[in-house]
Symmetry: C2
Subunit: 560 residues, 2 copies
């Protein structure tokens, strides 16, 4: 009856798999399900060949999981029938959108033997409302696709891109509660109505959507009665087959605010001041505070030569590389939006608040970039950088804050690799990149950041990895810290060390109260402990919605 706080137990990486059909009866059921799925989807969209299964088992994590089959439905109705068949034969299915969940599990289910339901063929942009500034998209619609559509039709609306690149799904990131850095960065908060297929096959619209003719479905997501959208994020309660997404009207004027501080301890003061700017809405989108090491992972690969093959990177080499590129120990970026007048007012406040805490503070607009291109010698004189270097650093960021996705952040995945990214839109899988994300939430105070770093940094060092922190203000009161464990996937020893490092990080930080906002497939047993009342509530909901436990077993909601 009384509240029972959940104790954080160490990650058990080999928890019991779900029903995966090891008995002859289950095997018969699987074959029967396959036959029905083939009839519904066409045999070309039910893949069971070894090459495909091998391909889907690849992961940027040290260990992937192997599916039993891959289904590729093309419509909500097909998804509904896929689920009903799975339910009838009790075969576990695992939905993915485009499968770009880099460093969290990619296209893999938490356990071997699930049937992947890939929704990338459902790639229709169902509606774009220019007046009320929203779009309705299926799971297969990528960031790049919606961006291109808006450009081609001269629609002055911007998406909020994540760092996962142009080929990543908008819906997939949203139901995983991902975020970006524009004022629309909290993706859950931009959901404007969902269509969901329940594990038993029924199709439900959330919010006002179940009233056939509701006028405000896409502009007032909560509807009336219980507000259920949250139920279908980070869970295994339903397959989301379309969502409305609010889009940001193009801002008349945009400037990047860039700042950096050379002393490590300067970040404490910065955190306090950034919180003030956010709480007082001088800044309306996110602020990113990036440690030097993180920026280096974007700009280059590990300095194997300079380090003579040793890891981790020494402070001396790190400082040398940072100096070459004029990177501070802590580097901030934020975007200002509005009319020229509003941006000027914000600029003045930011200068007032941040000036004493930073070594460099600059505001960059597209106008200034155009000027820089015309007068390169002046740029060199003022910044010491050549124009190419400046534009390479600033243009992708300016693109992102104006809704244009790019793959620059993905560079990080190549940090410890000895291979080279091959082309403009490289796929981390194709180059055996190694990355495990650790993403704890840190209350936005200097004290919490210090406490967190005191825990995390020695663990990274112990396992010979660099601490590559980015702090993103997911709201004015909290940072999401993304701290990737980057490893060379071609080096089995390093891969094993990376897994151990991530596990110790997660356990130690969670034990100290710094929980992640999202986890990879192997860390999900951490999320809902059977002993907590929250875990019990989740399982009751699971039983009500998925009595045969066929949908994504092991995904966030874990059976006792």
């Amino acid at each position: 009856m009384s509240t029972q706080p959940q104790q954080f137990s160490p990650v058990t990486s080999d928890f019991a798999p779900a029903i995966t059909g090891s008995t002859p009866a289950a095997e018969d059921g699987f074959q029967a399900a396959l036959a029905e799925w083939r009839a519904v989807l066409g045999p070309q969209h039910v893949l069971t060949d070894q090459a495909t299964l091998d391909d889907y088992a690849r992961s940027t994590l040290p260990r992937g999981t192997r599916p039993r089959a891959v289904l590729r439905p093309a419509s909500t109705d097909e998804v509904s029938r896929v689920a009903a068949i799975a339910n009838q034969y009790r075969v576990p299915i695992y939905p993915i959108s485009c499968g770009k969940n880099w460093g969290y599990g990619d296209r893999c289910a938490p356990t071997d033997g699930q049937v992947i339901v890939e929704l990338s063929r459902m790639n229709r942009i169902l509606e774009v409302n220019t007046e009320l500034a929203y779009a309705v998209v299926e799971p297969g619609v990528t960031q790049g696709q919606l961006y291109d559509f808006l450009q081609q039709h001269n629609i002055p609306l911007w998406i909020d891109p994540t760092g996962a690149g142009p080929t990543a799904s908008i819906l997939g990131n949203t139901v995983e509660r991902g975020y970006g850095i524009t004022p629309y960065g909290d993706h859950f908060a931009q959901i404007a109505g969902m269509e969901v297929v329940l594990p038993t096959g029924e199709v439900v619209q959330t919010g006002f959507g179940h009233y056939g003719n509701a006028k405000a479905w896409r502009v007032f997501p909560r509807g009336i009665g219980p507000y259920l959208d949250g139920l279908f994020t980070q869970s295994n309660f339903g397959i989301v087959t379309s969502i409305g997404v609010w889009l940001m009207p193009a801002s008349p004027h945009v400037e990047l605010c860039l700042f950096s501080a050379d002393q490590d301890q300067a970040v404490d003061e910065l955190v306090e001041r950034v919180r003030w700017l956010l709480l007082h809405r001088v800044l309306v989108g996110a602020v990113n505070l990036m440690h030097r090491n993180r920026i280096l992972t974007v700009l280059r690969q590990y300095p194997w030569e300079l380090m003579g093959g040793r890891t981790p990177m020494s402070e001396e080499v790190a400082q040398q590389l940072a100096r070459q590129r004029q990177i501070g120990t802590w580097n901030g970026v934020a975007a200002l939006y509005g009319t020229r007048r509003q941006v000027a007012a914000a600029r003045a406040e930011i200068r007032r608040v941040l000036k004493a805490s930073v070594d460099r503070l600059a505001f960059v607009s597209e106008g200034k970039l155009r000027l820089a291109r015309r007068i390169p010698w002046l740029v060199k004189l003022v910044t010491g950088m050549d124009v190419g270097q400046l534009l390479a650093a600033v243009e992708p960021a300016l693109g992102i804050v104006k809704g244009k996705p790019n793959a620059v952040s993905l560079n990080t995945c190549w940090w410890r690799s000895k291979r080279q990214p091959a082309n403009a839109l490289p796929d981390p899988h194709d180059h055996c990149c190694g990355v495990i994300w650790f993403s704890p939430v840190i209350p936005m105070t200097a004290g919490h950041l210090r406490e967190f770093r005191r825990l995390a940094e020695p663990i990274m060092a112990k396992y010979r990895f660099e601490c590559c922190i980015t702090l993103t203000a997911v709201n004015p009161r909290a940072f999401d810290c993304t701290l990737p464990v980057l490893y060379d996937a071609d080096d089995p020893e390093e891969a094993q060390r990376a897994a151990a490092c991530h596990q110790e990080l997660l356990s130690a930080c969670a034990a100290a109260g710094y929980l992640p906002y999202r986890v990879d497939i192997h860390s999900m047993p951490l999320v809902t402990s059977p002993s907590s009342s929250f875990g019990m509530l989740c399982r009751r909901l699971k039983s009500a919605l998925d009595p045969n436990r066929v949908l994504a077993p092991g995904r966030y909601v874990i059976k006792p």
Copy 2:
């Protein structure tokens, strides 16, 4: 399997009540439950006397419902035991916070014979965090109480007050998904962790709260795994016993923006321009657009003498009253926050955008009000109003946007009454006020507003009530329209007419797709029709969480 849009059926005002103990066995169960509740709460907090039951049956609606008993637990543990006992003996209980749900049902359950669980004794402010700007409150904490606490301790944080007045519960409004007009006006979006008692008695913390030592519980509400807060709003799935609430840091400078237009059709242009201002974040809180009639209901009672006792108010009389007080046909109010520089920038943009669409546009700061008090003749010269009139109009609004609750909006409840409000904080019950709220959501376009008015206005006229519209921008894409049906509760014929009017309004507007964001206790059968897949989903969740259906039967989630 396929989607089945819910058809809107007319309100059935006498739907089947829940199990209320009409059989002898049920009567025994009720008596046994009472005995156990008395043991847990003390007999003085288990009220069954006729006077109390009569009191709790009163309503500002034309018809209240009569409870069987009133329980007054004082802690989460007591609430948990109350629920477990209810569940054991299958006695329906109905939780209320402070019972100020004026015009939606007050302290009444949807059906007769439920046991009211009033949480007003749980009135502790459990935490105020000045650094991270939030409070944690129990259901009995009122708007006035938290405001006073912050004042007394010189804490520069503001609440977002609703119009329900200083004695209304913060938590109660929030779990009903109410709203205010500051930038923190979307109350659901300010929830920072919930504690919930399930119908079976278990206590659950949402978000990170179930980890005993979570550092970010109050600053990152979503936690990890399914985000369940929405489940416990506008539902009967749990009793919320405390919530975190984000508070707004006091703004260095505040100005009210007041504008009005004399032509009725000017509102169309205003809607389009207000949407631009909100979508571009020139305005960050809500904008209220109020029809002349609505303002009159706040400033005075019905002009019975001028109208010779007839209803509704004639256009001629309305115009005369509006002229006397310099009220336009449509009147807008919004607040600007920030530093002086930011407010000045916003002011300039608003002037540019609104100027051509309004007849009057003024910005009022506290500085200007102080000046007005010192030089009253100048005010008279410039505005034609005497200072008292100006201050009476502006000061309460300026208070609200700075987090100081007042009861001015409640005046509306007295419009058709022939009694007089007695004191500074009058209780609409004590004066037999008659009000039924109708609160449809209207997409923020001129076309939708026209379509909605074309439906609603003739219905109001047909039943001889004034159309007293306020449009509040609940987000940059949608208005909540509050359209009260105000009647004289001392006049049974008018009360009956009001109920019929409200029912026709709701049915006609809902049939056209304009659904309410919230409804009164008698309209709840509208919300989840058994035939829709959404209704089916809600009932599955209900069965999982409340197998004996003891919690608030008939509240939003209706059994088939």
